[in-house]
C-alpha cells in the first residue's frame, strides 16, 4: 500500500468537504437533531419521568449515533460522489488499489467524527447546559466502537452499491436506520420484545448504548460490554471488508464504467 495514494484520496474528499454547501450539510443535520431531541428530553425530564438523567442520556446517545452515521456516510456517499461525477473510472484506472481507497475513506470518516463530536458537544452545552463528556474517559473506547460499527454498515451497503450501482443509492441513508431500533439507541434493550432483544445483543452498537446508559446512571465502565462490542465489530468488519472486496471484483467483471 502507498501512503501517498491514500493521502491523495483523503485530500480528494477533504477538498470536497471544504466547499460551503458541504460544510452546511455537515453542521445542519446535527443541529436540527440536537435541538429536537434536546427539547424533547428536557420536557420529559421536567415532567418528572422518574429518570433524572434522561436528557444527558438521550443527547449522549444521539451524539454516539451521529458518529456511527458519519463513519457510514463517508464510505457510502463518497462512493456515490464518484458515480455522480463520473469519476469512478478515473480513480480505478490509476495505480490506486481498492485497499488504499478503503483506507482513505475510513480515515476521512475517522477524522470527521471529531468535528461532529466537538460541534455537537459544544451545541449541547450551549443550548442545554449539559456536558456529554460526563461519561469520562469511557467516551474514547465507545467512540472507537461506534466508528467501527459505522464502517461495518458503510462497507455493507457500499458493497451492494458498487455492484448494483445508483439504483441502490438509497442504502447510503437508509442502511444505518435498519440497525437503530435493535441497537436500543434511546431506550434500554429490555424495552424490546424478546425476539428484538435477541437481535439487539448480536449487534456491537447495543453494548455501547447499554454501557453508556449504565455509566450515566452511576454504574462502572463495563469491560464485558466493551469487549463484546469490540469482538462483534471485528467479526462483522472482517466479513464486510471481504464482502465489499468481492462485490468490487464482481463489479469489475461487468465493467466499472456502467456504474457512472
Amino acid at each position: 500500500m502507498s501512503f501517498k495514494r491514500i493521502w491523495g484520496v483523503f485530500l480528494r474528499y477533504y477538498y470536497y468537504f471544504s466547499k460551503l454547501d458541504n460544510l452546511a450539510e455537515v453542521f445542519y443535520w446535527p443541529t436540527i437533531d440536537i435541538f429536537l431531541w434536546g427539547m424533547t428530553s428536557v420536557w420529559i425530564q421536567r415532567s418528572e419521568s422518574g429518570i433524572p438523567d434522561i436528557a444527558i442520556i438521550i443527547l449522549t446517545a444521539l451524539v454516539f449515533w451521529q458518529i456511527l452515521w458519519r463513519s457510514n456516510y463517508e464510505i457510502t456517499v463518497n462512493i456515490l460522489q464518484e458515480f455522480w461525477t463520473r469519476n469512478f473510472v478515473n480513480l480505478f484506472s490509476t495505480p490506486l488499489k481498492l485497499s488504499e481507497w478503503m483506507c482513505s475513506v475510513m480515515l476521512v470518516g475517522f477524522s470527521k467524527i471529531w468535528i461532529t463530536l466537538g460541534f455537537s458537544a459544544l451545541l449541547i452545552w450551549l443550548l442545554f447546559a449539559l456536558n456529554i463528556f460526563e461519561i469520562g474517559w469511557a467516551i474514547l473506547p465507545y467512540i472507537a466502537m461506534m466508528s467501527l460499527s459505522g464502517w461495518v454498515v458503510g462497507f455493507l451497503s457500499g458493497g451492494v452499491m458498487v455492484y448494483f450501482g445508483q439504483r441502490m443509492q438509497m442504502l447510503a441513508w437508509m442502511a444505518p436506520f435498519l440497525f437503530a431500533p435493535f441497537s436500543a439507541v434511546f431506550y434500554p434493550v429490555s424495552a424490546l420484545p424478546p425476539w428484538g432483544q435477541a437481535i439487539g445483543w448480536c449487534l456491537p452498537t447495543t453494548y455501547v448504548f447499554e454501557g453508556m446508559r449504565s455509566i450515566l446512571s452511576g454504574g462502572p465502565f463495563s469491560m464485558h460490554y466493551f469487549l463484546m462490542s469490540f469482538l462483534l465489530n471485528m467479526l462483522f468488519l472482517g466479513g464486510v471488508l471481504f464482502f465489499f472486496t468481492r462485490m468490487f471484483q464482481k463489479s469489475r467483471q461487468k465493467g466499472l464504467s456502467r456504474l457512472e
Binding site: 484520496v9 485530500l11 461487468k254
Partner: protein, 310 residues
C-alpha cells in the same frame, strides 16, 4: 519494441443472453507508435480499452505491459499508463488545480514533480486562466482538454485516448492532434487512439486495427486500408471529345459516366497515367481534372457493412 502485447483477449458479458463483446483479439503496440482502434458501434473498441485500463476484467486472454502480466502487476504498470476520454469527467465541485493535485498524488508524484508540467499543459490547451475554477464552471470542450492534461501530466509511457477530440471545435481539435504528434516525437509516448473522425485517424495513426463483431477485421497502415476498400476516382471537365473519351474508357474496361461536360471514372491509382496518356493520343481536350483518392472512411463504410472477410 513492443511495450503492450495483447494475446487472445476475450470478453463475454454473462446474462440471460451471453454477449461476446471481444473474441480472441491479439495485437502489439510498439514504443512511440500511435495505433488507431476503429470499428462501428458494438465492435468491441470500448470493451478493449476498458480491459486495457483494468476497469473491466477479461474473460480470457493475457495483457502484457512492458513484458509484465497486467493482472499480476496492475498498480505498478498503471504508474506509466494513463487514459483520457470525452465520456468521463472529474469531480464537479473541485477546481482544476485540486483535481490535478489529487490525480498526481495517485501516481505517487509530489506537486513539485507535476506542478510545472501541469501549468505548461494547461497553458498549451488554453485553460491556465481557469486553474482555480470548479469543473462545473467549464464547458464540455474545456473538460475534454483538461482530461488530456490529466493524461499527459505525469509523463506517461502509454496513453489510451478514447475519442479525445469529440466535442472540440475544429481549430482546437487540430491543436490537440498536433500535441499528440509532438508527444510521440519528443517523449516517445505510445498511444492507442479511437475516434470517429476518419481524417483525423489517417493523419495521426501509424497503424490501424479495425474491429468488427469483437474480432480484428483488418490491421494495416491507414492508406493501405483505404486502397483495399475503394478505387480512385477521376473527374474531368471535357472541353472537346466526350465521345472519344468514353470510347477510351470502354477500351480500357473502365466504368465511366458522362454528366453534361463532366466525365467521371473509377480506376486503380496505377491506371491513371495510362488513361490520361490514352486521352492525349485520342486528341481529347479537357479543361479541368480532379483526382479523388480513396479514404479511410471508404474503408470504414465498406468494412462496417461487409461480410466477415474483406
Amino acid at each position: 519494441m513492443s511495450i503492450l502485447s495483447v494475446r487472445d483477449l476475450h470478453k463475454t458479458y454473462l446474462g440471460k443472453k451471453p454477449f461476446k463483446a471481444v473474441q480472441g483479439i491479439s495485437f502489439d503496440l510498439n514504443e512511440g507508435e500511435i495505433l488507431g482502434l476503429l470499428g462501428p458501434n458494438g465492435a468491441g473498441k470500448t470493451t478493449t480499452i476498458q480491459m486495457l485500463m483494468s476497469t473491466l476484467t477479461p474473460t480470457k486472454g493475457d495483457i502484457f505491459y512492458f513484458g509484465k502480466d497486467f493482472l499480476k502487476h496492475r498498480s505498478e504498470i498503471l504508474q506509466y499508463v494513463t487514459f483520457a476520454s470525452t465520456y468521463v469527467s472529474l469531480p464537479w465541485s473541485l477546481t482544476i488545480e485540486q483535481n490535478l493535485d489529487v490525480y498526481g498524488r495517485l501516481f505517487c508524484q509530489s506537486p513539485k514533480d507535476f506542478g510545472k508540467r501541469c501549468d505548461l499543459l494547461l497553458e498549451r490547451f488554453g485553460i491556465l486562466s481557469k486553474k482555480r475554477s470548479r469543473i462545473s464552471e467549464l464547458s464540455s470542450g474545456q473538460i475534454t482538454r483538461l482530461m488530456l492534461v490529466k493524461a499527459f501530466m505525469i509523463g506517461p509511457k502509454i496513453v489510451l485516448l478514447d475519442e479525445p477530440t469529440a466535442s472540440l471545435d475544429p481549430d482546437i481539435a487540430h491543436d490537440v492532434i498536433q500535441f499528440i504528434l509532438e508527444q510521440r516525437e519528443k517523449e516517445k509516448v505510445s498511444i492507442l487512439f479511437t475516434s470517429h473522425n476518419m481524417a483525423e485517424v489517417s493523419e495521426v495513426c501509424d497503424r490501424v486495427l479495425f474491429l468488427r463483431k469483437g474480432k480484428i477485421y483488418a490491421d494495416d497502415l491507414p492508406q493501405n486500408l483505404a486502397k483495399r476498400a475503394a478505387q480512385s476516382r477521376i473527374e474531368l471537365i471535357i472541353a472537346e471529345g466526350m465521345e472519344k473519351a468514353l470510347n477510351v474508357a470502354k477500351k480500357l474496361n473502365m466504368e465511366a459516366i458522362a454528366d453534361h461536360r463532366c466525365l467521371k471514372l473509377k480506376l486503380d491509382e496505377a491506371q491513371i497515367a495510362s488513361f490520361l496518356s490514352s486521352l492525349a493520343d485520342a486528341k481529347v481536350n479537357y479543361s479541368g481534372i480532379e483526382i479523388i483518392q480513396p479514404t479511410l472512411e471508404d474503408f470504414f463504410l465498406k468494412a462496417a457493412g461487409a461480410s466477415d472477410e474483406l
